[in-house]
């Protein structure tokens, strides 16, 4: 551990505290599927619903992490991360659709149902290969990555920053949403993909499979957390922070900021893609709604609520906001929008550092 990264005292205690908290939290998540196996009558039993919904939140947490990397550290406020998430989801969705095979209600050997009743004769070329799991997984990374590469390169090169970039990325996801709504695109239009049957030879709707996906997501969360940690702790992380605070100055130090930002942006887009890919088999549907700009903004808000620029914060934010949302949409169907909207206002106004900032305030 070098002098440089040895943190100041109060921060250290806090960071250790947070780490411990996070570790404990991950541990608790890890045992949930096991508790789910307990008899329903058992006091420690965790309901299927709770397990499946937590699995979903874990994916959101990964998305939050990826966003935090781009926004919290590199200062790239992307309002289009939902698009990367959705693209990853679609890649996975296409794989799952191919796996349905002849079990569709029309019993067509290859074509998914929606193609059959829309009168497709054969599979569009861009659907080829998705029957292979490795290929699909590759696409989960490549498709969002490539999009991020193109959009990022164009924008960073012409030095589009701040809100301009935000508006641009928002337009990007909006355009994608409109495009994917079109049935002619061959992605199932508004309905998207649903009624998946199996993955890796296992039927999707079994407890085993659900816990499998749950653990896969949890693993992905831990890995992406460690990856982000590795990045932000490295000198590269400090370069990103520097870019966030004074980009032009970094250029005069001889850093090609375009490349650095691009690297972070693409990486973050790929993470988002992974999150989406894990999300789809758990919720059992993917459709253009995922591209809606509001989703992307919400994801940003998770990060803001948790505390941008701190990895733990991103995870915390994702769980808090979504937990709140799930609860309120049932507990106060008419009022939840007020509570959520109010939360966003309060956080941006009074907690610029988010919940983590609150904790920081405590320790000082």
């Amino acid at each position: 551990m070098s002098l440089a990264v040895l943190p100041a005292a109060p921060d250290a205690r806090l960071r250790l505290g947070l780490r411990a908290g996070l570790g404990l939290f991950i541990l608790l998540l890890a045992v949930m599927p096991l508790l789910n196996l307990l008899p329903v009558s058992h006091p420690l039993h965790v309901s299927d619903f709770l397990v499946s919904i937590t699995g979903k939140w874990i994916c959101y947490a990964i998305l939050a992490l990826s966003l935090d990397l781009a926004w919290g550290y590199a200062g790239i406020l992307s309002l289009g991360h939902g698009a990367f998430f959705a693209l990853g989801g679609y890649a996975m969705g296409m794989h799952l659709m191919r796996l349905i095979g002849p079990r569709g209600s029309y019993g067509h050997p290859i074509l998914p149902d929606f193609m059959v009743f829309l009168g497709y004769q054969e599979l569009p070329w861009y659907w080829l290969g998705f029957d292979s799991f490795p290929f699909a997984m590759l696409m989960v990374l490549l498709v969002p990555g490539t999009l991020a590469l193109v959009v990022g390169w164009l924008s960073f090169r012409s030095r589009i920053t701040g809100v301009y970039l935000s508006i641009l990325t928002q337009a990007m996801t909006f355009a994608l949403m409109l495009a994917f709504f079109r049935n002619d695109m061959g992605f199932g239009g508004n309905n998207g993909f649903t009624d998946f049957k199996e993955l890796l030879g296992q039927p999707l709707n079994t407890t085993a499979m659900r816990s499998g996906l749950f653990y896969a997501s949890l693993l992905a969360l831990v890995l992406s957390f460690l990856l982000c940690l590795r990045i932000t702790r490295s000198k590269y992380g400090r370069v990103l922070t520097a870019i966030r605070d004074a980009e032009s100055r970094v250029r005069f130090l001889g850093y090609d900021t375009t490349r650095h930002k691009l690297f972070a942006f693409v990486l973050s887009a790929m993470l988002a893609g992974v999150a989406g890919a894990l999300y789809v088999p758990q919720v059992g549907i993917i459709n253009p709604g995922e591209f809606s700009p509001a989703n992307s903004i919400e994801a940003v808000i998770w990060v803001a609520v948790g505390g941008r620029g701190t990895l733990v914060g991103a995870v915390l934010g994702a769980f808090t906001v979504n937990g709140l949302k799930t609860w309120l949409t049932s507990a106060a169907p008419d009022l939840w929008l007020f509570v959520l909207g109010g939360l966003f206002v309060l956080v941006t106004l009074f907690l610029p550092k988010g919940l983590i900032g609150l904790a920081k305030g405590r320790t000082k």
Binding site: S47, F49, F117, W327
Partner: protein, 414 residues
């Protein structure tokens, strides 16, 4: 609402539960616990426009049923959630209703996609869903009862009417729709149907627009041009609720009178017309299985009940509300017959249930989980109501697997 308290607390736990990962809820039903009726309709987002009315309808029915002593001597308790027009959220909320709230039946969904997203959940957890909206068919789940129309109970008769002397003997048809699965499938069915009626491909125009499309200038003038080829032309609209207002405005403003180019719509009911000045639209048509203007004793009751429940004498009823009403009645009868709320028992009891529906006909639930329904064609009146100009003599059974979709020939049954 007090009756929502338990679920509130439980969900609260669920919310906290996941954040603190505390052990979660153990369901603990008292002996004669209430029968739980899930309501899965969007209360916010784009679909709230249509779905909130259905939420209220179910709540109204629950209240009425309780006033009538509930079912099997048990009270009914509505569990309302807001899937917020967000399709994955529909799936999540469905799971919550079934797994956490342990509802005995659910009334919900409007769009096909919302239904398709909850369908796997209901099949997995063996729940019971009543779906009250007309849709494209091509589906049949043992866990869903479809109380809305299948294409042959709405689209095809409507087009037949347009081709008939009364309908103006249309020779060219413009199929306008919102770009999602219901219009796509319906139009595919209609296209094949029209061709079978000897109308050449060249006389069929098909256009799709996104949800909430508000700028119809281009399309309407294209339709005008399409109609300018010297053959009587008619519009068949599968435009989704929200986009209809600007569409009809444009029709009216571009001076397209029903006498020149009649249009028949499948998604425009009293609720939608409540949003516009209907005077320019007089004579345009809509096809449904129920209109508020139907004259039948049951309908009179239904309307009175609704307007008193909603405390607004000017509030309208529409087809999906009627389908909800009918579905609810049937379910209540089936539970009574089965003597239990267990899904499998109720499912079997459902088949063959008959209800005198507000539409003035007796509707029956068939083995394909679809209702037999009458088809009615209504003309828009200046006051936003419909004047029924044509209707089938009897309720006709649903063909949820349309014969006009060739692939259905080699479909694996069951």
């Amino acid at each position: 609402m007090i009756h929502r308290m338990p679920i509130t607390r439980r969900a609260a736990l669920a919310g906290l539960g996941t954040v603190l990962a505390t052990p979660a809820i153990r369901p603990s039903f008292a002996q004669s616990a209430p029968i739980k009726v899930g309501v899965l309709h969007s209360l916010s987002g784009t679909m709230a426009i249509s779905e909130t009315a259905l939420r209220d309808t179910v709540l109204m029915m629950v209240e009425a049923q309780n006033a009538a002593g509930g079912i099997l001597g048990r009270r009914l308790e509505a569990v309302v959630v807001d899937p917020a027009s967000n399709w994955p959220l529909f799936a999540e909320k469905a799971r919550e209703l079934l797994a956490v709230s342990k509802v005995d039946v659910t009334f919900g969904c409007w769009t096909s996609v919302s239904r398709k997203s909850v369908l796997p959940v209901y099949e997995e957890l063996n729940g019971l869903l009543f779906y009250p909206v007309q849709y494209e068919g091509e589906e049949e789940s043992k866990n869903i009862f479809y109380t809305g129309a299948a294409p042959n109970q709405q689209a095809i008769p409507a087009v037949e009417y347009l081709l008939s002397a009364d309908g103006g003997e249309a020779k060219r048809i413009a199929l306008l729709g919102t770009d999602y699965v219901y219009p796509r499938t319906t139009n595919r069915i209609l296209r094949n149907f029209l061709i079978s009626k000897g109308i050449p491909e060249s006389d069929i125009m098909e256009e799709y627009t996104p949800f909430g499309h508000s700028d119809w200038q281009g399309i309407v003038s294209r339709v005008k041009r399409f109609a300018g080829e010297g053959k009587k032309t008619a519009i068949v609209s599968t435009i989704n609720g929200d986009a209809n207002v600007p569409f009809y405005r444009e029709l009216g403003n571009q001076g397209i009178k029903a006498e020149d180019i009649p249009s028949v719509a499948f998604s425009v009911g009293e609720e939608e017309l409540a949003g516009i000045d209907a005077r320019p639209l007089v004579g345009h048509l809509a096809a449904w299985n129920y209109f508020m203007s139907v004259e039948s004793p049951v309908n009179t009751q239904f309307k009175a009940l609704w307007q008193s429940y909603i405390k607004n004498p000017r509030r309208v009823t529409n087809d999906p509300m009627e389908a909800t009403y009918t579905g609810f009645k049937m379910w209540a009868q089936a539970v009574a017959k089965a003597g239990t709320t267990s899904v499998d028992a109720v499912r079997t009891a459902m088949i063959g249930q008959k209800v005198d529906a507000p539409c003035g006909y007796t509707e029956e639930m068939h083995a394909n989980h679809h209702l037999s329904k009458p088809v009615m064609i209504g003309e828009i009146q200046a006051d936003g109501q419909f004047n029924i100009v044509w209707k089938t003599p009897t309720a006709i059974p649903a063909e949820n697997w349309s014969p006009f979709i060739p692939e259905n020939a080699n479909r694996r049954r069951g």
